[in-house]
Subunit: 330 residues, 2 copies
């Protein structure tokens, strides 16, 4: 928020913020995860900035489902946008790949598919048990996501290539719909090159030839997987930012990482992914120039080599100092 | 088959083979993919050795579904076994990782999950279309796969660690069953260390810390994805072998790669993955020593640096010569 504020001040952007105390501590104290009243208020904002969730004393799943997935679904944030961009100076685990090669964006559908939470058990707990989980997609849900991806590809204007990552050769219902919609919407974008990559092959190419990708569009489950792989090749959780968008209403921005509870209060964790998410938020709010300045400041700091290591406690600076450096860099 | 034959001769193993002409050419000539009569005959063998499928004139999906997936499902080959092993001398795309770090096995469930082929469309082709694909698991199907993985972990005796790769925090039906079965069967293996990794995190660790894995067990869809990523970190399609097993009856072995139709008849493609699959076949047939010799011969050849590049046409040897070298190395 310090960097966001500095960027807004430079650009003369007025804004108001409201803070909500949501997360593990509140849940442990009150039993509440995300009260309905808060959810209703969130609908009224232009943007939501999510810190990071996860608490060692809370059973896994409760906060993820009760906060992150709930906001995504209830506010219909149907795009999960995840740039995979290697900043100069950041080490990638891949050989012979640098910022030139690792620079693409993944558009993940964010409100359907295996994440619908639909399914059930037959004869649960017996040796005859059957468990079913539905991968469910609608024309409308796929169409708006795919169209967003085409628009983004056009706007980005890099290789002008949109890759559909699916498994249509096996998922002959859900991903047959994806293929048909991808081709149909594609007719409105004759200048964009269309590519198809099965999800298994996608993971191979991300490691071997990440330069092949410009924009990738994919379903919720595969997006979850390939964006984590993407975060790793761009240098890991210290730098990976993301946005959950409803282009027609509110959007939520977050670093991809969790809350790193081992470091609570130590002023040692790396804030760059969170700052990157604040930059994406500025962009989404229509302040492309301010957003670009945040990106440049992050990029310059990383390129300078001042930050020794992206890991918590190993940066050579405190969390606060890294924020100061990026704010000054603006 | 040349290497298989040589290994069998050294070990005094008697065997008979029957060849079937199955694949794209037959399909194009006769319209037949895998005749029922052949499928019935296949049930009677001890092992099946599959070359590689794919034909440029056949629509994608037909051969994969009509041959590969059909044999897996009809013959109930419920384990897909994929070693991720970097041979010495083989370049991996990962920095600072060598044969010490990249050496684990993925056990993929092979007859259930999203591959069941169950699903459907509502209002297909309209703006109200809904497409559904079922991820379906049974207790029996998960139990036998998980038990196989525990047994393998015990037998392998490396780190004695079995990792369940799932997405139980989101797939609260299908993967709740996986978790419960994993824990329940695990009680029979008190000495094996149990780890849990969400599939998204698994892809990150495979790239960042592949040395963390010993044996990984996972569902059909996630197994498809992470084994391709695994093939890439072990040096790519030139070296990745796999087996489709029913430990109680027949098994089918195959390189992970396709048929590389651009190289048909040129004597240029890399046979090492296929030879590795033949080695796995010997192991499955109970000839561990002969299998180990094939592995050693492959490993020695690769370590020698004679093979310049694993890519077709770039090996510095013909396909046949590489086969000869490995056969001689036995
Ligand atoms: C925390 C989890 C539910 C979430 C997801 O699966 O979407 C996370 O992995 C992510 O990608 O944002
Ligand atoms: C060819 C395809 C149907 C198959 C699969 O998805 O299982 C392949 O990718 C594999 O992993 O063996």
């Amino acid at each position: 928020m310090k960097v966001f504020g500095a960027a807004a001040a430079h650009a003369g952007i007025q804004y108001e913020t409201v803070e909500y105390d949501i997360g593990g501590d509140r849940y442990l104290a009150t039993g509440e995860v995300l009260p309905d009243s808060v959810l209703e208020e969130l609908r009224g904002f232009d943007a939501i900035y999510l810190g990071a969730i996860g608490h060692p004393d809370v059973k896994p799943g409760i906060l993820e489902k009760g906060i992150l997935l709930k906001v995504r679904f209830e506010l219909d944030l149907y795009i999960n946008l995840r740039p995979v961009k290697l900043y100069p100076g950041v080490p990638t685990p891949l050989k012979d790949k640098g910022p030139e090669e690792i620079d693409f964006i993944i558009v993940r559908e964010n409100t359907e598919g295996l994440y619908a939470g639909i399914g059930g058990f037959l004869k649960r707990g017996t040796r005859d048990e059957v468990a079913i989980q539905e991968m469910i997609n609608t024309y409308k849900g796929v169409e708006r996501c795919v169209r967003y991806a085409y628009e983004l590809t056009q706007k980005r204007n890099k290789e002008n290539t949109l890759t559909l990552c699916d498994k249509a050769n096996v998922l002959t219902y859900a991903h047959d719909l994806w293929r048909r919609v991808f081709d149909e919407v594609g007719e409105d974008y004759p200048d964009i090159k269309k590519e198809y990559a099965f999800v298994d092959a996608t993971t191979m190419w991300m490691v071997k030839n990440p330069e092949w990708f410009d924009v990738v569009v994919t379903c919720n489950m595969f997006g979850d997987i390939i964006t984590d792989l993407g975060a790793m090749i761009q240098g890991g959780m210290g730098v990976a930012a993301s946005g959950n968008l409803n282009p027609e209403s509110v959007a939520m921005f977050e670093p991809i990482h969790g809350s790193a509870p081992r470091y609570t209060g130590k002023n040692q964790i790396n804030p760059i992914a969170a700052i990157g998410a604040a930059g994406m938020m500025l962009d989404h709010l229509g302040h492309e120039d301010a957003a670009a300045k945040v990106e440049t400041s992050i990029s310059d700091l990383l390129a300078s080599g001042k930050i020794k290591d992206l890991g918590a406690g190993r940066m050579g600076y405190t969390t606060e100092e890294v924020g100061d450096l990026i704010a000054e860099g603006l």
